[in-house]
Symmetry: C2
Subunit: 275 residues, 2 copies
Amino acid sequence: MGGDKTAVAGDGTIGKACDVLDQVAAFERPVRFAELLDRSNFPKATLYRFLQVLTNQGMLSYDPERQTYAPGMRLVRLAHAAWTQSSLAPIARPFLDALSKDTGETVHLAQLDSSQVLYVDKRNAAQPIEMYSQAGKVGPAYCTGVGKAMMAFLDEDSLNEAVSQQSYHRFTDKTLTSEAALRADLDLIRQRGYAIDDEEHEPGIICVACPVLTSGSRMLGAISVTGSTERMDFNQLEAWVPRVRRVAEQIGAEAQAWRFPETRAKVSNDRMQAT
Amino acid sequence: MGGDKTAVAGDGTIGKACDVLDQVAAFERPVRFAELLDRSNFPKATLYRFLQVLTNQGMLSYDPERQTYAPGMRLVRLAHAAWTQSSLAPIARPFLDALSKDTGETVHLAQLDSSQVLYVDKRNAAQPIEMYSQAGKVGPAYCTGVGKAMMAFLDEDSLNEAVSQQSYHRFTDKTLTSEAALRADLDLIRQRGYAIDDEEHEPGIICVACPVLTSGSRMLGAISVTGSTERMDFNQLEAWVPRVRRVAEQIGAEAQAWRFPETRAKVSNDRMQAT
DNA sequence: AAACCAAGTTTCACTATTTGGAACTAAATG
DNA sequence: CATTTAGTTCCAAATAGTGAAACTTGGTTT
């Protein structure tokens, strides 16, 4: 997966439009028409029209002075709805607050999105934060605590897919850089119920993470507590594991009640019907 | 603008797809196919295909158990890019932190998006009041401090459009419920340089707001400090105005340097004509 | 148990939209 | 002033979207 042009998305016009959005977002800065043209397979006129329409719709914003495109504010509006409805964040919030307060360390809540880690909420060691200052950011799954905790509890098909889509880039000399090594670690994680990140992504950064599961073992996300080797060692960090695990379980239970009822039990009719 | 079905969007397939996204988001809860079908003009099969494709793309998420759709996590990813690049939030962050610390009150940063207030960042009061606002959330412009502060400094065309698109719903008995009343207030705001919200949106909630402007008077957004009538009165709140104004100016200056260079000063010719 | 109903899904002939090569214009450069 | 580069418009060909209707599924009524 080198730097070649993105393959055109599968489904129709809408898929292509989403592709364009991703392309623009990928630059992480306002971007000119020509730059986008290079990196896309679309012919000039086609790309041009896409940018026009998306800008019209507020999905992109256009700066006429600089002639640059950037992701638009309509996305922020929509994402607010997504964050509220489809993420674990609203449910997890009070638990994260408590965990953050108790540990005094950085706490993350993440979900898996196209085999990547998507951070949906966070508490800093220091100050209270708001929404997507950090939430919305993505990171690699194979070398983070939350990523591995989540992958370990995927069903077989999803796991195979996820594992095969990792880049295995070596960030530090402790990074797991092969599918085999990752699978071995995932087995261990599944067995003991939590994952560790021992400076696999950033030097000096260690963390412990637990998956958030429904009672039916459906994996919903993961939470982690992160520390730095300067201030603590693994023994201190692992002491938090039982606490982290309990919080993860609470979030899972809460989520199940609220959003992933998985009931099906015998209750049957959530829809009662007159006449 | 009552509860009738949304008019079909202008531009093509993509516009319609965005419409569907808005429709789903508007429910503020996971929603079933049939519910969406009622509120949209699309025929069954068409809407169905849209939902399929959008779900495929991760713009929506589908819960197979409940058969419900909700805005998808891909939006959160994209919005992160939008927030980082197209909003004032990254620039304003340190200033908001300081302002929040100094005042101890709730602080908002907002931008105008389709004539509505879009909150892009927020700091909670030391003693938080339960209140309607979070990053990504939208609210009315005609009855909020930030909304009025922004509208007052729009150019004439934009102002006319914005003013005409307000709903003028009466939230409290102090809400301005006519275009004339709003325009009068906007004149006053323009003159004194800041806006107030005197329980016009929520009873007991008052605020002062200043616009964020470039040196060329281009309106970029607004910031506000909010309080509750239980703990303070307007005199106390208005004492913060100079401080708020200074922060708004700092943000404006910073933003101009970073993102809205507006240099080009006298270059003038948006249309210069050869020969 | 058979008939019924409602919600969701698939089909397919019809057509409106998208497509993209190429021509065009505007602005930047030598 | 000639030339290049960047952005915009055109239009015939082809693809992709449309939506009425038929079908499937799962649950409820007679």
